[in-house]
Symmetry: C2
Subunit: 137 residues, 2 copies
DNA sequence: ATCAATGCAAACACTTTGCATAAAA
DNA sequence: TTTTATGCAAAGTGTTTGCATTGAT
């Protein structure tokens, strides 16, 4: 498994209506310890239409509530991650994701970019490895 | 523009046949200073079937010749980048890509991962900014 | 002469959209 | 009551695949 992370920027939008479907989706996301796709959620949540799942996930991403992870096969997976700059540490075996809050890449990024004449530097990073539980198995 | 980088691992495969189509594709990639998609190449190279472009790009990626970049809209773009661990510095305005050879993230990655009980850590990072030329504009 | 590569079109997988209906606010 | 969300099915988009044919070796 290889995941590619895209952290979304909070956008402006109306407050979403508190429908049972949306609640179910958010709850499922909250309980998940890994990123899930729309289709996965749709299967898990019988009674919620696929389009509804897609629409809600997209909205959560737009609102900055959810992070978006692109998988190599083209799927998009989502997870609740709150705001603030952070990275992810993903288990390449089971998909478990840890949120890495402290980032010390800014200086490196700025320096490297400067060497190439770039400004307004931003960075994204992804860590993958084997989690403790999988290692034990 | 936001690009997400996936560095491919070299695989085992037969030597590809030196067809004019393949030559055209590789040449186009070599001349490009940014990542290009199959569809873009297909347009540029009249006389090369779309499927052929896809197949060659995929093969180049499998061979480790080309890096793969996932765009947010689901497109996959490719660029020749040779082997070896490296990162990319992309201009978010014009798409220009610089290859960043020296990477000092290993230590950070290992340390952070260790704190969470992860082993066999690998990392991927992407830098985006505004290149000198775009800045001048 | 072989066997892989090409081209085309059909098939795929994931996601988005139109529209009538249901249901928050 | 007004307005947004849902569900379904149809349409979109990027990519892959089957198969006959071409062409590199």
């Amino acid at each position: 498994m290889r995941l590619i992370i895209v952290c979304t920027m909070p956008g402006t939008s109306e407050r979403a209506r508190n429908t049972p479907q949306r609640r179910a989706i958010v709850d499922a996301l909250r309980e998940a310890d890994r990123a899930v796709t729309a289709q996965e959620l749709h299967e898990r949540l019988s009674g919620v239409g696929l389009a509804t799942v897609y629409r809600n996930l997209q909205r959560l991403a737009d609102e900055g509530e959810a992070d978006t992870l692109l998988r190599e096969n083209g799927e998009t997976a989502f997870m609740l991650c709150g705001a603030g700059h952070h990275h992810h540490l993903t288990c390449r075996r089971c998909g478990l994701v840890e949120r890495i809050g402290d980032c010390r890449l800014d200086e490196w990024a700025r320096q490297v970019a400067g060497e190439y004449g770039f400004t307004d530097v931003d960075h994204r990073a992804e860590l993958v490895g084997i989690c403790a539980r999988c290692r034990a198995t």
